[in-house]
Amino acid sequence: MIPIEVRVNGRRYAETVEPRLLLSDFLRSRLALTGTHVGCEHGVCGACTVRLDGVAVRSCLLLAVQVDGAEVITVEGLARDGKLTRLQQAFHQHHALQCGFCTPGILIAAEDLLSREARPSREDIVDMLSGQLCRCTGYTSIVNAIAEVAEA
């Protein structure tokens, strides 16, 4: 068992974990942050995407011990003071989610893109999204939602 210290959504956690514990399982089971979803556990679907020190990563491909000393943002950390972000609101307005299972990963990945590029093109957005699987929407409404925020 290995002690780790990590900030998640601004809150500090000191935990002791097995070396093999996945970050996704750590977030969901240990911290009860069940907004991070697990869809494939081999890094393709992107549902488990979180930001690690500002960078979008697949939490199913990382071990909890690897985030010792780091800062993690999950979907639960997006809305501030109970208010949805512009991106979350845009997803609502554009019907950019149906079952909502892939949505947390997509929101995080989109926030990552928007933080790196002030005005990503539609092509940039599609390019980023091609790393996230959604089986419900056909993606167009998701691209529209992100593009609206990018253009604002």
Binding site: E18, R20, L21, R28, L33, T34, G35, T36, H37, V38, G39, C40, E41, H42, V44, C45, A47, T74, V75, E76, L78, A79, L84, Q88, F91, H92, Q93, H95, L97, Q98, C99, G100, F101, C102, T103, P104, L107, V126, D127, L129, S130, G131, Q132, L133, C134, R135, C136, T137, G138, Y139, T140, S141, I142, V143
Partner: protein, 768 residues
């Protein structure tokens, strides 16, 4: 309040009530629930062979592994349960885990239950199993004359032989629709809690219905229905039919909980899902079709071989019969026959998958229409127009017993051709091809059935051998108003993202005069407390018809009661809250003979859905939408890559209850249709090993792969559903494979195409 300003909530693009929790990461999916204290975790040991005898299975090392509670083996399963009942008798009994013989790669052979999932997965590695491999059956067509064929039925309507004899053109083409799977991003999950004292099982599972499968699971467990309490979470991460088959894991985990005396949680991983959950059938259709010289379709003769995998798992062979009333598609043809054979192979059992029989049927029918048009030197759109059922003929009885409720097919075709700029696109494609670019235009006209007749699957047995008749499709709904006027709706339609809560709230809001936001819709269904029927659930695009029908009937009952109370109190303007308070707190003031309380339960059954008749005719669905798609593609001559240049889809799904959500369903249905057309296929090697066992091998379309469709709507209300709505979640999944295959065939001038039209496969055709 807002409600006073709106004419009706129904028909408006009300934003979803579901969204906020999901956007915050506060959804409640199966793996987010912790409904029972002390739950232990399961891992499933699965067969590495497609077909083998289990010579020896020794769990002793696993039993001694750290944290292990116990092991359930296939032998235990066979001793503790009964085979699953299915639509046709099969020589091979199907249990929740294999004992003696394994019949597909991924079939469960044992379950380990341990303190956590990591330990359970460690321990399954320690179970020693000795297999003696047997020859697998993998080619359904090759096996059709063997005992692997478990059902062989012939249907004949009109006089096909006579019509073919007088036809000017007779086509006979073979079409293969591969096995594919809609692969929801959330896999299966079950929490099972056996109550030894009560002799009952409570199970939480992301089940999607049909609730016929609750009875199948209860029968396997040897329980009366009331002893199997099945609860679904509020949220389910997509299903598209696939999660119907989680019922077999409800049984498996229920048995593990029963044997080991602990509540058991099992969350499927993606490898397990791709290997052993469910998927479409693989279908080979030989279609003989007769046409007159001017393009009238006068005969269809289907010869279908349906590969359902290793077992006939309920509700199969339903894929084969879901479209039975629509064998003639959107056309007036009167002479139709079909030979339907069901074949077992050593692959994962098939089941519900978006489109459910429609993609397979229309690939054969719409490809045949396009091939006929070319052979006759006619425009495919004109051939379609010449054959479409006329708007004056509704309700239209099809030769095989279907009752098409309403529509204006020709107007939809006109809309689609205009939206697509069909004439120009066809001309552009011809000139592009003259310049060496492989551009093509494809058309598909499909009738989209919704609200399945629970009796259609009995067609798998001949009249007289069908047992007790089955029919209909009914849904239940309970609406309660609390003493403070709060409105709660219980609706067992098990949504997985379709927005049922929003639409149900719109319907109730209109009837009770409130805003949708004031209506709590509970869809976390519970077979012990919800009103439900065997038809309940989320399949055959039934929500907007029967789901909404039940909601409207229950709300109308309450509205009537509220009106009577107001009238009795002598003031028709008393607030809903006052009426509710009075009904609860002061029942003495209610009209004499009125039942106290403010709760109403109603069931709505779709009309016309009789059992199959003795001439094998069946109204297989209650409502029928219509879809016309026009696809424009370009094929890269060097690589075979298919690029979709334009995609137009025009729908008539009756009255649209929420246009925003309707659009979402059309786009999502198209995404699955494009996936099946261009990317997706479950692949086994010649020994039955699964080659598509991860998302790196099973290719789901990404944002970069899908077209931005242009969508049009018409609204011809259905006379058979309370609000005139028809289902629309599956139409584009049915139409897109045919439309895209027609476009590619047009582009490259070849008909020997096989789905999915991936670059290597198209390239291979080009280089033949």
């Amino acid at each position: 309040m807002g409600a006073k300003l709106a004419e009706t909530w129904v028909g408006r693009s009300v934003l979803r009530l579901e969204d906020e929790a999901l956007l915050r990461g506060e959804g409640r999916f199966i793996d987010d629930l912790d409904p029972v204290a002390g739950t232990r975790h399961a891992a499933v040991l699965r067969s590495p062979f497609a077909h083998a005898r289990i010579v020896r299975l020794d769990p002793s090392a696993a039993l001694n592994a750290p944290g292990v509670v116990g092991v359930l083996t296939g032998e235990d399963v066979v001793a503790m349960s009964r085979p699953f009942p299915a639509g046709i008798e099969s020589p091979v009994p199907h249990f929740a885990a294999a004992h003696g013989t394994v019949r597909y790669v991924g079939e469960p052979v044992a379950v380990v239950v341990a303190r956590d999932r990591y330990l359970a997965e460690d321990a399954i590695e320690l179970i020693e199993v000795e297999y003696e491999p047997l020859e697998p059956v993998l080619d359904a067509v090759a096996a059709v004359a063997t005992e692997a064929c478990v059902s062989d039925r012939v249907f004949d309507y009109g006089d096909v032989a006579e019509a073919l004899a007088r036809a000017d053109l007779v086509l006979r083409e073979r079409f293969r629709f591969p096995r594919w799977s809609c692969t929801p991003v959330e896999c299966y999950g079950v929490v099972a809690d056996w109550d030894a004292a009560a002799g009952s099982l409570t199970a939480w599972a992301n089940f999607q219905g049909p609730f016929t499968l609750h009875s199948v699971a209860a029968a396997a467990l040897g329980l009366s229905g009331s002893k199997l309490r099945l609860i679904t979470p509020t949220d389910s991460g997509g299903s598209f039919g696939i999660k119907s088959a989680v019922f077999s894991y409800v049984v498996l985990m229920g048995l593990a909980s029963r044997k080991l005396g602990v509540p058991v949680r099992w969350i499927e991983d993606r490898l397990e899902h791709l290997a052993a959950s469910s998927g479409s059938t693989a279908r080979t259709t030989e279609l003989e079709a007769g046409f007159t010289a001017d393009g009238e379709l006068i005969a269809l003769r289907y010869d279908v071989v349906e590969d359902v995998g290793a077992y006939v798992r309920a509700p199969e062979p339903a894929t084969l019969y879901r479209m039975h009333g629509s064998l003639s598609g959107a056309y007036r043809v009167q002479n139709v026959s079909a030979r339907n054979r069901v074949v077992l192979t050593n692959t994962c059992p098939s089941g519900l998958n978006r489109g459910f029989g429609g993609p397979q049927l229309y690939l054969a029918l719409e490809r045949t229409m396009a091939i006929a048009a070319r052979r006759l030197g006619l425009d495919p759109a004109e051939v379609a127009r010449r054959n479409l059922v006329s708007s004056e003929d509704f309700p239209y009885a099809t030769p095989s017993g279907g009752i098409y409720d309403s529509g204006d097919y020709e107007a939809c075709l006109d809309d689609a051709l205009e939206l697509a700029g069909y004439e120009e696109r066809r001309a552009e494609a011809v000139s592009a091809r003259a310049r060496g670019r492989l551009v093509g235009v494809g058309l598909a006209c499909v009738v989209e059935p919704s609200i399945s007749n629970m009796g259609y699957v009995t067609l798998a047995e001949p009249a007289g051998e069908r047992g007790l008749p089955k029919s209909g499709n009914a849904e239940g709904c309970t609406i309660s108003i609390s003493p403070l006027g709060g409105i709660t709706v219980q609706l067992p339609t098990t949504p997985q993202g379709q927005g049922h809560r929003t639409v149900a709230a719109q319907v109730v809001a209109d009837i009770l005069g409130v805003a949708p936001q004031e209506v709590e819709v509970l869809t976390a269904s519970d077979t012990s407390t919800f009103p439900w029927t065997v038809a309940s659930g989320n399949y055959s695009s039934r929500f907007s018809g029967v789901g909404v029908g039940a909601v409207a009937l229950a709300a109308n009952k309450l509205a009537q009661k509220i009106a009577e109370i107001r009238h009795h109190l002598g003031d028709d303007s008393i607030s809903l809250r006052r009426v509710a308070g009075t009904a609860h707190w002061n029942p003495e003031s209610l009209p004499p003979d009125m039942e106290p309380g403010l709760q109403a339960t109603a069931y709505f059954a779709a009309p016309n859905l009789h059992p199959p008749d003795d001439q094998d005719r069946v109204a297989s669905s209650a409502a029928h939408g219509f879809v016309v798609d026009v696809a424009v593609v370009e094929v890269d001559r060097e690589t075979g890559q298919v690029r979709v240049l334009d995609y137009v889809s025009v729908h008539d799904a009756g009255r649209l209850l929420n246009p925003l959500l309707a659009e979402g369903q059309v786009r999502g249905g198209l995404a699955h249709g494009v996936g099946a057309a261009l990317f997706e296929r479950v692949v086994y090697d010649e020994e039955g090993n699964l080659l598509t066992s991860s998302f790196m091998d099973y290719l789901c379309p990404t944002a970069a792969d899908l077209p931005r469709p242009r969508i049009g709507h018409r609204e011809t209300p259905s006379p058979f559903t309370p609000l005139g709505a028809k289902g629309l979640g599956e139409g584009t999944t049915m139409s897109a494979p045919a439309a895209l295959a027609n476009a590619v065939a047009d582009a490259i001038g070849r008909d020997d195409l096989e789905l999915p039209l991936t670059a290597p496969r198209v390239w291979e055709v080009l280089s033949r």
